[in-house]
């Protein structure tokens, strides 16, 4: 069993798989429209200090999301 993190606190530059997206209906729907949902492989590219936004890569394109939202995306590391 791999360790489980939220996207906000996982290390950058590791591929990981989304195991769930928490949060309200609105957030889930917006993330869903961008393809961020359960089962997807994503990679965190960078995060900013002081709870700044997280940049992630999914399907070869990049999306910036706030720290709070990143905390709601639960992922596990892929080997």
């Amino acid at each position: 069993m791999n360790k489980i993190f939220s996207l906000a606190n996982i290390q950058a530059n590791k591929n990981c798989k989304i195991i769930s997206v928490e949060g309200g209906y609105g957030i889930i729907k917006r993330l869903d429209a961008m393809g961020i949902k359960e089962g997807k492989i994503i990679r965190k590219i960078s995060s900013q200090p002081m709870r700044g936004p997280v940049l992630l890569e999914i399907n070869g394109s990049q999306i910036a999301i706030g720290y709070g939202m990143a905390g709601k995306i639960i992922v596990e590391e892929e080997e």
Partner: protein, 565 residues
């Protein structure tokens, strides 16, 4: 018949639009370039077709007021050209499936075909067409490849009976059947892109880029003035005006309106205040060179794709003023002209953010026209005076932002945006964009400045400036420490801020007074063009509040500067 270009942000809808209609629209490499709809006309086999370019959207369920525009327009379209991004097929199809479920005839432009090839993405177009049941045409809007085919097949647009249970399952199964991706290494652009958003490298890069931009704008602006505009005015326009001045008898009301006052027997473009001297010189001789320089640099930044990355880096700071990182985009555009700046606040999601963004913009972001004049006037005293003006405005921006963030009701969501890849700016697009924006500036500025100069002469002759000056002397002299004649500049500032700064020239102010008047002229009220846009965007009541904040802040800041400088 109405044809609508619908698609995700930044997929090339506006490029396609200008290809189809020949109309010029602004194109840049970030999401949210288009915030209004633009209509254009196209002829296909003798039929006239109306084409509409709209803002990009991820779904038919809008989350910003720009997306709202798109979804509202969607209802009006007869045919939808769904522009999708071949390098990001999966996400693009999310909106496509939404569209196919509605009762509209659809045709798909599979754009960025060239980039997909470079990225090693292969898409089986016939198969995609068969699976979706609508025509799919690969295009490269930038070069025009595939456009002919798109227009030829426009009549084939259909509304397929399209059924599915789970959207992502359906998309997954389509992708499996049509797309093959071959792995490839990171390109150098991708590495620079990553370096610009990792804090240790990103912050030094941002500082370097911004300083370089300031330096370049000043360098290009000054060179244009020294080698192009000044010689033109001195050797061509001045002799012509001198001759006209003689013809008009060197004085009299008509002479004063057209040529202005002679100073030691000469025309001084900055001081004479004639319609054909100062009125022409301010927008064209003094401001236009900086407008060209600014938009040249801004366009490079936009087309390279730097702005959204800057947004990531400043996100934390922007949250202090109640915005998220993308709030930097209205501010950057506002430095050119507050009008497009205020419009671009539409890319922000909530009313609260749009109120804060436009208020901050109107209070503390001087437009390039005003900056150019301030550089000309205050810059004579060296860098100290200029830094004083701009640092004051920056502090005002932050303080008022913090206060607004505390007291304005509503919600400021987190940043949530697509970050486009870096692209090498297409030089023709850049030049076209600079040309469009400069032309737009001249169209906006010249009539208002001419009118302004005319009004100045009338009000001056009738003694109205003098009257108002006496009434407001307690504020202007008492609080701001300026001569009461400065009231003229404050009145004309409602019309054009550049001309207002120009009106300070004959007053021979000292450095302290120049700094104070440059700051209060930025803050006290937006120019009429911005004012109109803000009323439209914010509504009357919010605009009233915004104006109240501006006036109070001006009195406090102006008075404070007068005390401490």
């Amino acid at each position: 018949m109405k044809v609508l270009l619908m698609g995700n942000p930044n997929v090339g809808k506006s490029v396609l639009f200008s290809r189809l209609t020949g109309a010029n629209v602004i194109i840049s490499n970030y999401h949210g370039t288009t915030v209004e709809f633009t209509k254009g006309i196209m002829q296909i086999s003798k039929k006239t077709i109306e084409i509409i370019d709209v803002p990009g959207t991820y779904s038919l369920d809008p989350s910003s007021s720009a997306e709202n525009v798109a979804v509202e327009m969607f209802e009006q379209g007869n045919i939808i050209i769904n522009v999708i991004d071949a390098t990001n097929l999966e996400r693009s199809l999310y909106l496509t499936l939404d569209i196919l479920k509605k009762n509209k005839a659809v045709i798909i432009a599979l754009n960025m075909w060239d980039e997909a090839k470079h990225k090693g993405i292969k898409i089986n177009v016939e198969k995609l067409e068969e699976l979706l049941g609508v025509p799919v045409i690969p295009t490269c809007a930038l070069t025009g490849e595939g456009i002919k085919k798109l227009t030829d097949r426009l009549q084939e647009a259909v509304n397929p009976a399209f059924e599915f249970d789970d959207k992502w399952d359906k998309i997954g199964s389509i992708i499996d059947k049509v797309q093959v991706i071959t792995h490839r290494h990171h390109t150098i652009l991708e590495r620079i892109a990553d370096a610009s958003v990792i804090p240790i490298t990103g912050i030094p890069i941002a500082i370097t880029v911004l300083l370089l931009c300031f330096w370049l704008i000043r360098f290009v602006g000054e060179s244009l003035i020294a080698y192009v505009f000044e010689p033109l005015f001195e050797t061509l326009w001045l002799p012509l005006m001198m001759r006209l001045s003689n013809l008009l008898g060197n004085s009299g009301i008509l002479h004063d309106i057209i040529i202005g006052k002679l100073i030691d027997g000469n025309i001084e473009f900055m001081e004479s205040m004639g319609v054909l001297t100062t009125g022409i010189f301010v927008p064209i001789g003094a401001v236009l060179p900086y407008i060209i320089a600014f938009y040249f640099i801004l366009s490079l930044l936009e087309d390279f794709g730097y702005l959204p990355r800057l947004a990531i880096l400043v996100d934390v700071l922007m949250h202090k003023v109640g915005l998220h990182g993308l709030g930097i985009i209205p501010m950057m555009l506002g430095l050119g002209c507050n009008v497009p700046g205020a419009l671009s606040s539409r890319i922000l999601e909530t009313k609260r953010e749009r109120f804060i963004a436009s208020t901050l913009l109107a209070i503390a972001i001087p437009c390039m026209a005003q900056i150019a004049m301030v550089i000309g006037l205050v810059g004579k005293y060296g860098i100290k005076g200029l830094s004083c003006v701009f640092i004051t405005l920056f502090i005002v921006w932050i303080l008022i932002g913090i206060i607004l963030n505390k007291f304005v009701k509503g919600r400021s969501p987190e940043i949530f945006t697509d970050i486009p890849p870096y692209r090498i700016p297409h030089i023709k697009t850049v030049i076209k964009k600079v040309w469009m924006r400069s032309k737009w500036f001249l169209k906006e500025a010249v009539p208002y400045v001419l009118l302004g100069v005319f009004v100045v002469n009338i009000l001056y002759t009738l003694g109205i400036f003098n009257m108002i000056g006496k009434v407001f002397a307690p504020i202007i002299t008492g609080i701001f420490g300026l001569p009461k004649e400065a009231v003229g500049a404050l009145i004309i500032g409602f019309l054009r801020k550049d001309l207002a700064i120009g009106m300070l020239v004959p007053l021979h102010l000292n450095l302290k007074q120049l700094i104070i008047s440059s700051v209060i002229l930025t803050m006290y009220f937006p120019c009429v063009a911005t004012f109109v846009v803000m009323i439209k965007e914010l509504g009357f009541i919010s605009m009233l509040k915004s104006v109240g904040i501006m006036i109070i802040a001006t009195v406090i800041v102006g008075g404070f500067l007068n005390l401490v400088l």
